[in-house]
């Protein structure tokens, strides 16, 4: 006898997803994980470097600002 296509057969207990044997396809591929990690590391490095350079510049700038009056400077 031909099956009626309008009838939806519920899955049997054996076919239903069960804890332990069900794998949701929500994980990244290894390549994607590598890209994400390296991208994040590069951005982190870049931003850290910028912060470091700015901080170093500010510190050097402050040190220069604490200079001596012109009258105490050497003339050559």
């Amino acid at each position: 006898m031909k099956e009626d296509p309008s009838v939806i057969t519920p899955p049997t207990l054996a076919e239903a997803p069960r804890k332990g044997n069900y794998k949701r396809p929500t994980s990244f591929s290894r390549g994607d994980v590598a890209a994400l990690v390296s991208g994040a590391l590069l951005v982190f490095t870049l931003v850290s470097l910028l912060c470091f350079l700015v901080a170093e510049n500010v510190m050097r700038d402050r040190a220069v600002g604490a200079g001596r009056p012109a009258s105490a400077a050497p003339t050559h």
């Binding site: 390549g31 994607d32 870049l46 470097l49 510049n57 200079g67 012109a70």
Partner: protein
């Protein structure tokens, strides 16, 4: 959490933003590569190397001037109501003899014929042609073109200039001011190419309307940052499909491009966003806020240095007589004499060769090789807004464009609102550079923007080139995803359906 319909909208925005911003983004990246290549081996960078003409093309003795300096000062006072001048110079140009008067350190100069007293500025093309023709060794004028130019030393926003094309031994383009024929900038083939790519494709400035083009530039940059944010959102939302698509479907064009686009985007998108923010900061300095950046905000508004127009100056003949023994023997006449007052004493800047800094001689005949820093600082203080206190920082040679070489200079830090560092030439007291706090903060951002991290040219350029290739690859694969071709479309449809079912 997010409705599929909204995810679809994000995908559409990402797609259309990417397509729309392809031209500016590719322009920024390609121009960066060109600018890097152009300057890679340029000696002395964009400033270039030039042999300046040491002598005027015609030998004219300065004491042939029929008017003496006092006559010109009298004219300035009576005809123009000028009470003080910064300096006065007598110089020969071609067969002409000119007096150039600088009313303040930041104003345009005034030029008078030393024989007739006639006012010559703004200089006509005929005179500027003479000036341009004898600026570079072995050069001649091919063409003059009127233009305007920004310059850090002048209060005016744009100076009237000519752009002179020079042929001969050193092909170049000189930007020469119309007030006194001063060379403000020299461009050679490299710097010209750099400027063209920089203006057209890196900062997208197509005219002098900075506000208009900057708005467009920043809108595009914000668009690209939004594009990357949307890209990361899609990357996150589509993670269920990612493993399916990369598992065994690498042979299909769209999927191959999509995988590559996703990976390149993930690695380079974040860096691109950081670079755009850094670049936006840099352009603030070099574009809309160039005046405070270059230290123009520190110009004093009530300058009262220099000397009074009522002062009696020594005549050219007297000066030539006093300095003749101190100058190196030469058959060529002295090229220029400049009168200044340093502290309370009259000083003469005597130029024997136009490619060398002038000798400074006190009215007593004694040479001045270095001014006392306290005096140099006081001269500079007169030129800083509010005449604030200052500290001596040290000595540091600074580039002087007139001679295209660095000059020995003192560095002072002033307590003005911009915390401006003022560099003053050691022998003349001339302010040759102003570097406010805003400018001093420029360095770290430029280092990051140029990927100049290690100082090793090969390493830095490899890093930059890799990043640029990644961004160009991202653009190319983005287009391929959107337009996979006829064959790719059929396969893609089947694959997309299969992947959605799997998800």
């Amino acid at each position: 959490l997010v409705a599929p319909r909204n995810k679809g909208r994000v995908a559409a925005w990402h797609r259309w933003l990417g397509l729309a911003l392809t031209v500016p983004l590719a322009g920024w990246v390609i121009s960066a590569a060109v600018m890097m290549l152009v300057t890679m081996n340029a000696p002395n960078g964009l400033a270039g190397v030039y042999k300046l003409n040491p002598y005027n093309s015609t030998d004219v003795r300065l004491d042939a001037a029929t008017l003496d300096a006092n006559a010109i000062l009298g004219k300035l006072a009576s005809d123009h109501g000028i009470e003080r001048v910064y300096w006065l110079r007598l110089q020969s140009r071609g067969q002409h003899l000119w007096y150039v008067a600088k009313p303040t350190p930041y104003d345009l100069a005034m030029v008078f014929d030393a024989r007739s007293g006639k006012r010559l500025d703004p200089l006509p093309d005929s005179l500027l042609s003479v000036v341009a023709g004898e600026a570079l060794l072995g050069g001649h004028v091919v063409q003059l073109e009127s233009a305007t130019e920004y310059n850090r030393y002048y209060e005016a926003d744009r100076l009237p200039v000519v752009r002179a094309t020079i042929g001969g031994e050193q092909p170049a383009r000189l930007v020469i001011s119309r007030d006194e024929g001063r060379t403000l900038r020299r461009l050679n083939a490299e710097s010209e190419r750099f400027e063209w790519w920089y203006r057209a494709f890196h900062v997208n400035q197509y005219s002098n309307h900075i506000a208009l083009w900057t708005t467009l530039l920043y809108v595009c940059a914000a668009g690209v940052i939004a594009l990357t944010v949307l890209g990361y959102l899609l990357f996150w939302w589509r993670r269920p499909r990612a493993s399916f698509l990369s598992a065994g479907q690498s042979g299909v064009p769209q999927m191959r491009s999509r995988n590559l686009h996703r990976k390149l985007g993930t690695v380079a998108g974040g860096i691109l966003s950081v670079q755009l923010l850094v670049g936006a900061y840099l352009w603030l300095s070099l574009g809309p806020l160039e005046d405070p950046f270059r230290g123009k905000a520190s110009f004093s508004t009530d300058w009262a240095g220099g000397f009074a127009t009522s002062r009696a100056l020594a005549s050219p003949a007297t000066i030539l007589n006093v300095v003749s023994e101190r100058l190196a023997p030469t058959t060529r006449p002295v090229q220029a004499i400049e009168w200044r007052v340093l502290g309370n004493q009259e000083a003469w800047l005597v130029t024997s060769r136009l490619d060398e800094a002038p000798r400074v001689v006190a009215a007593s005949g004694a040479p001045i090789d270095t001014l006392d820093p306290a005096l140099a600082g006081e001269i500079a203080r007169e030129e800083v807004v509010g005449k604030p206190s200052f500290v001596f920082v040290g000595s540091s040679p600074q580039m002087w464009m007139d001679l295209n070489r660095p000059l020995p200079a003192y560095q002072f830090r002033f307590n003005d609102p911009g915390q401006t560092d003022v560099y003053v030439a050691k022998n003349t007291g001339q302010v040759i550079q102003r570097r406010p706090w805003f400018w001093r903060m420029f360095g770290p951002f430029l280092t990051v923007h140029m990927f100049a991290f290690t100082g090793n040219k090969v390493v830095d350029m490899t890093l930059l080139a890799t990043f640029q290739l990644a961004v160009l690859g991202m653009i190319a694969t983005g287009w391929r995803v959107r337009f996979p071709g006829k064959q790719g479309r059929g396969k893609n449809a089947a694959l997309t359906a299969a992947s959605e079912k799997a998800a």
